[in-house]
């Protein structure tokens, strides 16, 4: 490695990651205790010591395109053992968020999601949107029914005599919101990932961390096949010692999202293909799955919030709280919507549903910009590490 590297510290980048919870990064005095503690530190490359000095020097180019930082599950062993209280775990977490922020487009949305002062807008926009949708549904029932009949389609998916949320915000309007939104999210991720994969590969080649010279899509997909069971079993996560208790709640949340994703898709098909509108019977096994997942989501995210509160050693910044409370709110409003519906409290359940929609919007629309984006970046980085035979 005789080629010279021109250092170009970026003071703004230091400020940025400091704001994301890395306020301790400048304390590092490079003793490498973290590298000894770290279960994923390779033999000859002191991870995360090198990432720590890169962070304290503001070397954005060495961090943002660095796949290694995604292999860290923030087990906290390094932060626990750091003699200077430099908290490498929290620094890496901040760097990961900076990475999400860096690759996400459009920039203004990324900036809005990371800024606590923009939170009213993040909540307000869907709130106003769904208020309009609700108004259309409730005030324009007859007009819309006529309009839809012109196309031979039924406007209302509500059933007579039962409380149905479709009477509050039409399923058509919900899906007209979320289907394009999903497409938008996919596009944002795709654009981000394209750059991300290019960068982590370039970084790995430059630092001698891989034996691959180019990225072969087929090999990459094969690697993904190996990585997914690892993620599902939380194999890496379970190696954590200091933050061991984080593994189970994380697993609960992950599985409930997977479950709810399946449920949503099934009901989508049931509604639009088989034309059977909800609400569906509680005896339906799909409903069982939905209820279990909903409960797991609340419990899992609740536990995570509790852990963050009780863990004085771990720095929690806005990026962490935003996503945790959002997931918790999502689960809670979802379950309450169902419970109030079953209890027959019509307007209360409408209100809960309104809140639930706002929460879903936040999670969905801002997925590529929030900490939640780790689910994509981490999977890709882990896949790359497996594909590139990380050393």
């Amino acid at each position: 490695m005789s080629e010279k590297y021109l250092v170009q510290p970026d003071l703004k980048f230091i400020d940025e990651i400091t704001g994301f919870g890395a306020e301790t990064l400048k304390k590092c005095f490079q003793c490498a205790t973290c590298s000894v503690a770290c279960p994923i530190s390779p033999e000859n490359s002191p991870f995360p010591r090198k990432e720590m000095i890169a962070a304290s020097w503001g070397l954005k180019d060495k961090l943002v395109g660095n796949g290694d930082i995604w292999l860290c599950h923030e087990c906290g062993d390094c932060s626990d053992l750091c003699p200077r209280g430099a908290r490498p775990g929290d620094v890496l977490s901040a760097v990961r968020y900076a990475t999400i922020n860096e690759y996400a487009r459009p920039k203004f949305l990324a900036d809005a999601v990371k800024d606590p002062q923009k939170l009213p807008f993040l909540i307000g926009i869907p709130a106003i949107w769904f208020a309009i949708m609700a108004y259309i549904t409730m005030a324009g029932h007859d007009t819309m029914t006529k309009l839809f009949h012109n196309f031979g389609v039924e406007w209302s998916h509500a059933k007579e005599g039962v409380i149905a949320h479709a009477d509050f915000v039409s399923t058509w309007l919900v899906d007209i919101t979320f289907v394009p939104l999903a497409a938008f999210v996919v596009i944002v991720f795709a654009l981000g990932l394209k750059n991300f994969i290019t960068d982590i590969h370039a970084n790995a080649v430059a630092e001698g961390k891989t034996d691959k010279t180019s990225i072969d899509p087929k090999g990459f997909i094969l690697a993904l096949k190996d990585v997914i069971p690892v993620i599902l079993k939380h194999d890496k996560f379970n190696k954590c010692e200091a933050n061991q208790e984080r593994s189970t709640p994380h697993m609960m949340v992950l599985y409930s999202f997977i479950g709810l994703f399946i449920v949503t898709n099934i009901f989508f098909v049931v509604l639009y293909v088989f034309q059977i509108p909800g609400p569906y019977s509680q005896l339906n096994p799909v409903k069982w799955l939905a209820n279990i997942c909903g409960a797991a989501l609340i419990i899992g995210s609740g536990l995570m919030i509790k852990n963050r509160f009780s863990n004085k050693d771990q720095v929690s910044s806005y990026k962490d709280w935003y996503i945790l409370w959002l997931v918790f709110a999502l689960g809670l409003t979802g379950m309450l919507t169902e419970m109030t519906r079953l209890a027959g409290a019509q307007y209360l359940t409408y209100f809960m549903y309104y809140l639930h929609l706002i929460a879903i919007f936040n999670l969905f629309a801002f997925l590529p910009f929030s900490k939640m984006a780790h689910l994509v970046y981490r999977v890709v980085a882990m896949t790359y590490a497996s594909y590139g035979n990380r050393k």
Partner: protein, 758 residues
């Protein structure tokens, strides 16, 4: 025990035994005999003299302590050396080696008491309680304040026209008080102002010392304006090349003296006292440092000739004037690289005369860059980042600055790149060879003690105006950096601050207090005629039997402290308050005319003669006898520790403690061998890099003398291996038994001394 009593009584001396001599009752018994006038000299055969010295202290009595416990009973057990049975006692085959050792020690103690006198203190003619402080910087001012607060009269002499020194020329300084985190404005002005509160402090600016003559307690000091030439300017000894003739042979004494007079024309002899000189009791040397000038090939790769590559001192001057700008074009210097070590990847040494200060100065100056420019960047490339004590807090606080970047690394090149500079560093913490673009590069030049260029103290001593052996101490004014801080190689002159070691302002102020206390101790010792250090309280001093002096000057030359001057003929003139009582002069004197009241050639010589050397007339196979002359500072305590740890060594060794190996006169060795002893071992402190000698040169001189003895031994038909020189550190007691046993084995292999029995 009874046999030991017999040894004493055979000599006609009284002997009393007590099972617990250091108890109140035991001591009271001795005291009673002293009070009754029955006893004024005694030999106490008990524990080592290194313990209970305060208990066995009887005023007006000569007390000799015979080390029967640590020296005999503890190291040598009866299990290993059983007592003789009745039949064995007179069979000429068996002998009791430990009993023999104890008996020898008692005899040696008795003879010493006979040979020594009670010392009487030396009093100087005049006596001054004033303290002279050389240097009006932070250290000098602090020392003056500390001494003045203790009630002493102080004079500060400063060469410059104003006080303050370097401390007055800085923009900011490192913290000096809790919480030790932030830069502070220089505190020197407060200190200068404080001087006015003390009427017992006199300040002489624009003044330097022409000469300091005499000795501690009565130094006669002549002042002058810097650069002035006056008769009381101190004469310098001839430089080495001038004492040789054209052929390279050394000139004789007379020719040398003539040359010396010519060389120092217009200057009065050192022995001439200035009648108008001021009298001082002690001197504090706080002359400080000068910034090092980095020149030469060793630094060529650092671009030292480029205008924007400057030293930390030059940077400080720019900073004191205003914002940090480049010397080349006056442009703002926003990206500055501080280089702490010359690097080149060959070794990790810092610049010469560096230390913790240069690390901290880099931190301080990096902060200047950040204070001047919010978008400024300061890089520090170091091999060592030294922030001792609470300055660690300062380091931590500087580290928190987002625009200060530090890495360990070796700087391989500084070169011009367009309008700026490029610094290349190898082996950095970033794991790569780095290039750093810089507007300005700052090199951490060291703090050269001013005594490197100039004696400063200008002592009117025969050995010369400065300190002779500063090279042992890396050029700093010191005499034993481990045990005796502030002590220079001249008694009565105490160094503080950067002249002693590179120091921060905080350290210098603390150091000043130490030197002030030493100066006070010196005054309070000189006026009572006792030694200051390391033999604090010793009242003896070298006495000369001049009738036999051959004016060989060996004593004058070899004294590590320049205590001896000589007159035109070369007759030594002792200055007792300069003396540290090591006895190096006594060891040097070929005529053996130098002695101390309780430490003489004869007292040790007689002890050696008192050692019984059994021959074949006594036993069929007589035991060997080895003499060990052991330095009392480190080696003797180490030997006591061997005893305390009950580690056995050959009981045929007889140990005599000496003040310093420098005081060992070769006659003792010759006498020992002439009386049939089989070998002599000298054990002293380490010299060289791992330097520990308490008297600077003692063990080194002893080694030279031992090596020179080889020929003399050969002329006696003796093997030179019979005399050995060894060094030991105080914590290496575990090595001593092996070292002694090896020597004894070697001697046994050589066979007995042929002179035995004569």
């Amino acid at each position: 025990m009874e046999d030991l009593v017999d040894v004493v009584e055979e000599e006609g001396n009284n002997c009393t035994t007590h099972p617990f001599l250091c108890s109140n009752e035991g001591v009271a018994r001795i005291q009673k005999d002293v009070d009754d006038g029955k006893v004024n000299a005694m030999v106490i055969g008990a524990c080592s003299r290194r313990v209970n010295f305060d208990i066995f202290k009887f005023d007006g009595c000569i007390v000799e302590r015979v080390n029967l416990r640590e020296g005999v009973a503890w190291p040598h057990s009866r299990e290993k050396y059983p007592a003789l049975t009745e039949e064995q006692k007179d069979d000429e085959e068996h002998f009791d080696r430990i009993q023999m050792k104890a008996e020898d020690y008692i005899k040696m103690g008795m003879i010493r008491v006979e040979k020594v006198k009670l010392p009487e203190p030396y009093k100087t003619e005049k006596s001054s309680r004033k303290i002279l402080v050389l240097g009006g910087g932070i250290t000098g001012i602090s020392a003056a304040l500390d001494a003045a607060k203790a009630g002493f009269e102080v004079t500060i002499v400063e060469k410059e026209t104003s006080l303050g020194g370097y401390a007055a020329r800085m923009r900011s300084q490192m913290p000096v008080a809790e919480p030790f985190e932030q830069l502070i404005s220089p505190i020197i002005d407060e200190k200068i102002a404080e001087l006015k509160e003390y009427p017992n402090i006199t300040v002489k600016t624009g003044t330097e010392v022409a000469r300091i003559a005499g000795q501690p307690g009565e130094f006669t000091v002549t002042f002058k304006k810097p650069g002035e030439k006056i008769p009381f300017d101190v004469p310098f000894p001839l430089p080495p090349e001038m004492i040789l003739d054209e052929k390279g042979n050394e000139l004789d004494a007379e020719a040398q003296h003539a040359k010396y007079l010519e060389y120092n024309k217009g200057k009065l002899d050192i022995l001439k006292l200035d009648p108008d000189g001021e009298l001082y009791g002690a001197v504090i040397l706080a002359a400080g440092w000068r910034p090092d000038r980095l020149k030469g090939d060793a630094y060529a790769h650092l671009g030292i000739d480029l205008p924007d590559v400057i030293t930390n001192d030059e940077f400080e001057k720019i900073a004191a004037k205003g914002k940090i700008v480049r010397p080349s074009d006056g442009k703002e210097a926003k990206e500055v690289v501080f280089i702490q070590s010359p690097g080149k990847d060959e070794d990790d040494a810092d610049f010469p005369y560096c230390g913790g200060v240069t690390s901290q100065v880099a931190l301080k100056q990096a902060k200047y860059v950040r204070n001047d420019y919010p978008d400024g960047k300061a890089y520090i490339v170091y091999q060592h980042m030294r922030t001792p004590g609470l300055q660690e807090n300062f380091y931590k606080s500087i580290q928190q600055d987002n625009g200060i970047f530090m890495t360990k690394g070796a700087v391989t090149e500084v070169s011009k790149a367009g309008n700026s500079l490029m610094v290349e560093a190898h082996n950095t913490l970033l794991g790569k060879d780095l290039n750093i673009k810089a507007d300005l590069v700052v090199l951490a030049a060291g703090m050269v003690p001013v005594t490197v260029d100039d004696p400063v103290v200008n002592l009117a001593y025969r050995q010369g105006p400065g300190f002779r052996d500063n090279d042992i101490f890396g050029g700093y004014a010191d005499s034993n950096y481990i045990c005796f801080p502030y002590e220079t190689q001249r008694t009565g002159v105490y160094a503080a601050g950067a002249v002693r070691r590179s120091m921060t302002i905080e350290e210098s102020m603390e150091d000043a207090a130490g030197a002030a206390l030493k100066a006070i101790q010196c005054i309070e010792s000189a006026n009572r005629g006792v030694a200051v250090h390391p033999r604090s309280g010793d009242m003896t001093f070298p006495e000369f039997f001049f009738q036999r002096c051959t004016q060989c000057k060996r004593c004058t030359v070899e004294c590590p402290f320049g205590a001896l001057d000589d007159d035109e003929k070369g007759t030594p003139k002792a200055n007792p308050t300069r003396c540290r009582r090591c006895g190096t002069c006594m060891g040097a004197c070929p005529e053996r005319i130098i002695s101390f009241a309780d430490y003489t050639i004869d007292s040790i010589g007689s002890q050696i003669k008192a050692i019984g050397v059994p021959s074949e007339d006594d036993f069929d196979e007589p035991p060997f006898r080895i003499l060990a002359l052991v330095c009392e500072n480190d080696a003797y305590p180490a030997l006591d520790m061997v005893g305390m740890n009950r580690i056995d060594y050959s009981p045929d060794v007889r140990v005599i403690p000496v003040r310093c190996l420098g005081s060992v006169n070769s006659i003792w060795i010759k006498d020992a061998l002439a009386q049939g002893m089989d070998g002599v071992i000298l054990i002293g402190c380490k010299h060289g890099d791992d330097y520990q000698c308490h008297f600077v040169k003692g063990s080194e001189l002893a080694e030279v003398r031992v090596n020179k003895m080889g020929d003399a031994l050969k002329s006696l038909a003796l093997e030179e291996e019979r005399v050995r020189f060894e060094e030991i550190a105080i914590d290496e007691y575990d090595k001593l038994p092996g070292l002694l046993s090896d020597f004894v084995e070697e001697i046994e292999a050589l066979g007995p001394n042929p002179f035995k029995g004569f």
